[in-house]
């Protein structure tokens, strides 16, 4: 019946009851990045943990420098450095238990190394050798992911599957500030929250997506605020403060493990180096900005804290540097050996069993290679005959 037909009998009724689905207040991030070092809270931080973080940061800085040097020598095809971001990389690795999973992007080989992966294996992709230089199951490190944010739904699915199986496994996924604009970022966070999956998203906001600053990426109050729209807590942390990042990520991991669901952590940091060795950062940013961030260096911050409190002396600093140097020397030496690749491997892992079509193509390549080898041998024989 229409209102007209009811002839005055119609009474407007209020809409069916509406309530917010979650109280947004507890999900909101702090108004400024959470810090530990240089604040009163620092006194409560575990000295053993701080020393461990320090040693890993020093090693991480040296690893970045060594990898960058290897690109200059042509030993790496490309290297996206995490210099300046070592606190995030290292803390992400250290907060996880062995059974947990790490989902790194191309920039996060250091996190993988800090988790225990052999640096040579971590750099296999970037030297132009096979795409993944390690068995992901061994250290529970997913393959380095290049298409931005596409690793995030994988982390959610894995965490969800673990929970379905009754395993208390947490997945921690790394993504950049630029990656938060991708659709997969949105879909992953939404799935994670709906499924209450035990996953932690760490956004390393290093100021740039190659050349594009965050202002052109988002109009959100902060990247951490995006969490609220999905119904999960957002946390904002000083990404150069290793103690703070470790604490915030540790809390998020514990929360996820206890069944509390996902957390989005935004770590505010800075990419000290260019995007990769192939990039020219002078085209889009000034030295002054880089210098202000160098002054807020993650290693200096932690070293200051430790030495002020008498937890680290010259010997300790030297020991950390020596260990880092030994790692770099070993990495240099092993990366200077040419890897041996078998062209037949091109066909070996496309499917469990190569299709008949791939077998044909494999045979063709084998024949080409054999013919090439024979021709080389003939040429050599002629050369010596003369």
């Amino acid at each position: 019946m229409t209102v007209m037909e009811q002839r005055g009998a119609y009474r407007p009724t209020p809409p069916p009851a509406w309530q917010p689905r979650t109280d947004p207040a507890p999900l909101l991030p702090d108004s400024r990045p959470y810090r530990v070092l240089g604040t009163e809270t620092a006194a409560q931080a575990d000295p053993t943990l701080l020393r461990r973080l320090y040693a890993e940061l020093v090693r991480g800085r040296r690893y970045n420098a060594q990898a960058t040097a290897l690109t200059k020598q042509g030993r790496l095809a490309v290297y996206p450095s995490s210099t300046g971001q070592e606190a995030c990389e290292v803390a992400a690795a250290l907060v996880l238990e062995e059974r947990d999973w790490l989902f790194p992007s191309y920039r996060d080989t250091l996190a993988a190394v800090a988790r225990g992966l052999d640096p040579v294996q971590a750099l296999t992709l970037l030297r132009g050798d096979w795409h993944t230089g390690y068995d992901p199951h061994e250290h529970r490190v997913a393959p380095l992911c290049t298409p931005l944010a596409t690793q995030l739904p994988h982390a959610v699915g894995l965490a969800h599957a673990a929970r379905l199986k009754g395993d208390d496994v947490v997945a921690l996924a790394l993504v950049g500030d630029g990656g938060t604009s991708e659709g997969d970022f949105h879909e992953a966070l939404n799935f994670a929250a709906v499924w209450q999956a035990p996953v932690v998203f760490l956004v390393q906001n290093n100021g740039f997506a190659i050349s594009v600053p965050l202002a052109k990426q988002t109009a959100a109050p902060s990247l951490a605020h995006k969490a609220v729209g999905y119904g999960m807590p957002g946390r904002l942390v000083d990404g150069n403060d290793a103690a703070a990042v470790h604490e915030v990520l540790g809390d998020a991991v514990a929360h996820a493990r206890a069944g509390g669901g996902p957390t989005l952590v935004e770590a505010v940091t800075y990419r000290i180096d260019a995007h990769t060795n192939a990039d020219d950062a002078t085209r889009y940013r000034g030295d002054a900005e880089v210098e202000t961030w160098r002054a807020h260096d993650p290693i200096a911050l932690l070293e200051h804290e430790l030495t002020e409190r008498g937890l680290l002396d010259e010997d300790g600093i030297q020991a950390a540097r020596d260990a880092a140097e030994a790692m770099a020397a070993d990495l240099r030496e092993r990366m200077n050996q040419d890897p041996e690749l078998d062209p037949m491997d091109l066909f070996a892992h496309v499917y469990a069993e190569p299709t008949p079509q791939l077998r044909e193509q494999q045979d063709r390549l084998r024949a080409e290679l054999e013919a090439g080898a024979e021709a080389d041998a003939d040429a050599d024989a002629e050369g010596t005959g003369r």
């Binding site: 068995d135 199951h137 596409t150 699915g157 599957a161 879909e187 008949p356």
Partner: protein
């Protein structure tokens, strides 16, 4: 001894049965997608699965195809066997990034350490009067992506056998369901549903001597009808149902064309850049000296899928197939 009478069953019922049997046989099998739970899917293929196995095994996901496939990747990384339903052919496109960059490559990327046993069910094809975005034949995109198997049944028994094989496969399989055939019936015994078909074998649906119609999915019944009609013209047509586009069964196809000396490829997908070009090339490479005429294609036009009121002009029908057969240079014969 009791003999179970064969009862008519629809392709949709056989698919449901395959999902159910796979889920019962292996707790790692998880069905996920849009509306697959209480509703049973828009085509009812997942009917009853949530009820029988619980919502953790047959899950209504948020409405996001990339998210569905992306999370399925993570689930497969942890040892599950996700069976993903894409609601319609054209709504699988948002998932292409995950499909192409990860699903198809993860095994290769990790040199075999991380296979992804994911089945992606996609209702496809036209002829159901669907408005825009409900009738695409997107198989060429899938075929062009190394690392995927691409399978499509044309009969009720194959729907069961091939879906079981797809779910059992350790490789990702794009399982294309010809939605026009969902309600087609066949005699089929659900208590003895038939063999789990190995992926990659074509089958001769109708033997014949004059020419081979090479086809798959929704065009198989059309070709069989054309073969019947061709008898009046004196042609005895063989019909090969490919069943699997990747891997491609060159042996069965080439053996048929060598017998008949003539071939027409029939599919709904557009001709330009479509599967027919690849198939014609493969046949020519293998059967050149047996061929009495060029391999012809009867395909959908190279147009965006038409409005339903015009789709009958677009879809390959019996007449268009017979016209192509007529152009196979029979004059040389006499």
């Amino acid at each position: 001894m009791t003999t179970v009478a064969l009862k008519p069953a629809t392709m949709a019922q056989a698919l449901t049965r395959a999902l159910r049997d796979a889920m019962a046989a292996d707790p790692a099998v998880h069905v996920m997608g849009e509306d697959v739970g209480a509703l049973g899917g828009v085509f009812r293929v997942t009917d009853g699965l949530a009820e029988e196995f619980g919502e953790d095994r047959c899950t209504d996901t948020p409405l996001a195809e990339a998210g569905i496939l992306g999370t399925a990747v993570g689930m497969a990384m942890y040892g599950l066997r996700p069976v993903v339903e894409m609601q319609f052919d054209a709504f699988a496109y948002p998932a292409f990034e995950q499909l192409i960059s990860h699903v198809a490559r993860m095994r290769n990327r990790t040199r075999g350490a991380m296979p992804l046993p994911i089945t992606i069910r996609v209702p496809y094809g036209g002829g159901i009067g669907g408005v825009e975005h409900h009738s695409d034949s997107s198989e060429a995109y899938y075929m062009a992506t190394p690392g995927l198997h691409v399978v499509t049944p044309a009969t009720v028994a194959d729907a069961y056998g091939l879906l079981r094989a797809a779910i059992a496969s350790d490789d990702p399989v794009v399982f294309l369901e010809p939605k026009r055939l969902y309600w087609s019936k066949d005699s089929w015994n659900p208590e003895d549903p038939g063999p789990v078909e190995p992926i990659g074998r074509a089958v001769v649906r109708r033997p014949g001597r004059s020419a081979t119609l090479i086809t798959y999915g929704p065009s198989v019944p059309v070709c069989l009808e054309a073969a019947e009609a061709a008898r009046a013209e004196g042609w005895d047509l063989e019909v090969v149902d490919l069943r699997s586009l990747v891997p491609f069964d060159d042996d069965t196809v080439a053996a048929s064309v060598r017998r008949t000396g003539r071939a027409v490829v029939v599919h709904e997908s557009g001709g330009f850049g479509g599967p027919g070009g690849e198939i014609a090339a493969r046949v020519t490479e293998r059967c050149f000296h047996y061929l009495q005429a060029p391999v012809l294609r009867v395909a959908g036009f190279d147009i965006p899928y038409p409005p339903p009121m015009l789709e009958r002009h677009h879809l390959p029908g019996v007449d268009r197939i017979l016209d192509a057969v007529e152009r196979l240079q029979w004059e040389a014969e006499s």
